[in-house]
Symmetry: C2
Subunit: 471 residues, 2 copies
């Protein structure tokens, strides 16, 4: 079974998800998928990093998955943003429920009635919590594993409460820093973009998103950070007593990352042979393949075993299976194993192995006594740097800067323009078959563009903005 | 705020859950609760152990939370067991769904249609997976945090597939071993009991349960292991090709533990002052409390800091807060901190600390240079042994052996009787205000009773059985 070429991205993605055993797409409900053991291990490794970052200054909590209609409906903008896609529980057994329950689409309205009880005094602030939970959306559009789901299985949502707008705004910057660290760890390039007013989170003052560029030129939103001002605090009556004895409404932020981070990991780094994983998140980090010839098995196996033993701090597989070496290469390439050793009879005799990295064609010989943990970690660092650079280069090629709205439509990828803050100009650029992602908060190092210029529509002062077809 | 005495167990439990910050019971839907940061840390520590045990021979997976009515209804016995308590999703937004979706009450019917695709050949067996997920029950009875919930937030469910009945039966024994290890780790005594036919898991061939005894004498089911025979395999068509080329239905097991393990942890070990936690699962393992007198702060604080530094491999809090020592003792006792050090000016001078353990009244002096990681681990082991012994002793006192059914009703705790396997005898003993838990698979070491004797009803050969009021 061969994968479709990655140039047919949609088919490639669908196939690699199933054959590399990330998710089983055969579950009998549209938009719901099963995490295979292998995929779940990637999830664990990726989310361990996310937890590590969050744990530095958030407490992990868990709020219920069921939200009463009365709470969900309290914040007017918020419910308008979600009402078409909420799953409603109307019956327990055969009994109709008095108050309908929503399956959480996100947890603001589950958490904030409790925050009202948790926050009384300025000493209770800032409050910073997060949870990693399943959330639900009744998606009517085309669904796709890890990208557009009816059950988002792995939503990391953080929620913070602050004394005023400024402190919350400072925290928004910090949250952006957390997410940068996370995506840098995964070697996934991103654009940090402030969404236009009409595309911000329902109930937020402003929304800053992380978008990455998929191989087909469409963008994938892989993280969002929202400043909620005191909008929800007023609705849910979250007030605190300041040192001066006065009571003020708190200001809040929330920010989230879902399993789309894994969709990006697969899509951004993968190739025609399958997954390409950074060392840190690979379920199998190193594979050792013995090249056996009759009568010389023992020396080869001994060299392989010694090497596996030496590297046991890592997730190593010594593939002793009966497949031919070619079939083993194929299998472990599909699974994205970053480092491969092959040892044949002559290598064993010479005390060397042939090494190759998942992202490169070349093979080279290395003396076995030079291979140790330090060496492997050095290779892992170099691999990540290569992955990151290659990904950034591919993404840069998908971004085209235009000075004329007439050129927006024809470009297959992301279009960069200068755009002023006028809403009419914003809506006007959206008339060319692409959505306005918003304005760059900062221009990525892999885009050679200035942050400011004349608005492509009206010619006034503008800032760099991006347009794209989105997932 | 003082806790009610643990003799009023129900009030004590409710209060300790809230004031020790395990769960916030003020969420605005009956039967749903919020995990506080402190409670969630206990959950993490407890479930890490459970994961460690499972990971030895199961793969972790994740199956969807939503099960179509068509699948849930396939196994006749199974659906009969759950139909009154399933939450039904009938609408997505305002749109009625074509096929109603159940919120999983447990995942057999989500998993087994996929197992049909995963199991083809004898080489695919045994298949062993687990997941830790939220499950849902529309509870109409009195709900209680961690015990009787509408959203079980932390259900660890394992599912295995085997070639025949015997292999599955062997695996049932192994699963019992896993659960024993887990509860021994938590120092929670248990009874391993085979449920009567009329109380087994819907769709199972037989069910073996772990029951513990709560302070009020009622029992709490804290784990179950089910042999499913080929009942579900026939329904979901899970067949494999044997080496002889024939196709056979597979045999299955499933076994689960929920956050009731934490309810047991709290209830079995706690006392009038609050939580009492084994060292390994305490969010704060060691607290150091400086006893400060004006002018002598520096030497005391320095001794405290040095001690905290020396023990930093553990979860240590040096409580530098402004509360008086008594208030600090109270606070950390409530949170179940296993080991407390106090250091005052004279102690600092002498190079000693006063040590006390959460489960004991005594305090004793220890030279600071004798305190190291090894010493702490030794104390932790002794503490766990004491907790386990004390709990077993209290439980043994709640079990009464009777030779006359007339004595069943009046006893407030668990009643042990000999009972034959005749269903009529089983139903007959249940006429005295208690449920028949079933027959002991093995008699616990803390119960001094023989496994076999004459049936309390009919006088024929019987085995030791237990009756109780249950949670
Ligand atoms: Zn303009
Ligand atoms: Zn009998």
């Amino acid at each position: 079974m061969t994968l479709p070429s990655k140039e047919n991205f949609s088919e490639w993605y669908h196939e690699v998800i199933q054959t590399a055993e990330i998710m089983d797409v055969r579950y009998p409900v549209k938009g719901l998928y099963v995490w295979f053991p292998f995929g779940f291990k990637i999830r664990q490794l990726v989310y361990s990093k996310l937890r590590e970052i969050m744990d530095r200054e958030h407490d992990e909590v868990y709020f219920p998955a069921l939200i009463p209609e009365t709470e969900l409906g309290k914040e007017g903008e918020h419910i308008k943003g979600f009402e078409d896609e909420v799953y409603w529980i109307t019956h327990g057994g055969l009994t109709p429920l008095d108050v309908k329950l929503a399956l959480r689409p996100t947890s603001e309205t589950a958490m904030y009635p409790m925050f009202r009880l948790w926050v009384r005094n300025h000493a209770d602030l800032p409050l910073k919590v997060y949870q990693i939970v399943n959330t639900f959306r009744y998606e009517t559009k085309h669904t796709r594993p890890l990208i557009r789901l009816r059950e988002i299985t792995s939503f990391k949502e953080a929620h913070t409460v602050h004394k005023d707008f400024e402190e919350a705004a400072e925290h928004v910057k910090k949250a952006i820093g957390f997410y940068k660290e996370f995506y840098d760890f995964l070697a996934i390039p991103y654009m940090v973009i402030r969404r236009p007013e009409w595309d911000k989170f329902p109930g937020a003052a402003y929304t800053i998103a992380f978008d990455t560029i998929m191989p087909d030129g469409r963008t994938l939103q892989i993280g969002t950070v929202h400043h909620l001002a005191d909008n929800f605090a007023r609705t849910f009556d979250i007030k605190y007593e300041a040192p001066n004895g006065e009571h003020y409404y708190a200001h809040q932020t929330c920010y989230g990352i879902s399993e789309r981070c894994i969709a990006a990991l697969i899509s951004v780094h993968g190739d025609d042979l399958g997954l390409v994983l950074p060392f840190e998140v690979a379920p199998v980090q190193i594979v050792i393949i013995p090249i056996l010839y009759k009568g010389k098995e023992e020396a080869v196996m001994e060299a392989c075993r010694k090497l596996a033993e030496k590297l046991k701090a890592f997730r190593v597989v010594l593939d002793e299976g009966e497949d031919r070496p070619g079939a083993k290469y194929y299998k472990w390439e599909l699974k994205g194993v970053p480092i491969r050793f092959e040892i044949g009879p002559r290598d064993a005799e010479k005390g060397v192995a042939v090494v190759s990295f998942r992202d490169e064609k070349r093979k080279f010989e290395v003396p076995l006594d030079e291979v140790d943990e330090g060496k492997v970690l050095e290779w892992a660092r170099e691999l990540k740097q290569r992955l990151r650079n290659a990904a950034a280069e591919r993404m840069a090629e998908k971004v085209k800067f235009v000075e004329n709205t007439g050129e927006i439509e024809e470009w297959g990828g992301v279009v960069a323009v200068y755009l002023c803050s006028d809403e009419d100009c914003g809506h006007s650029v959206e008339e060319h078959g692409k959505s306005l992602l918003g304005w760059f908060e900062e221009v990525p190092d892999w885009l050679d563009l200035e942050p400011e210029g004349k608005c492509v529509v009206c010619g006034r002062e503008g800032r760099l903005a991006a347009l794209a077809k989105t997932y």
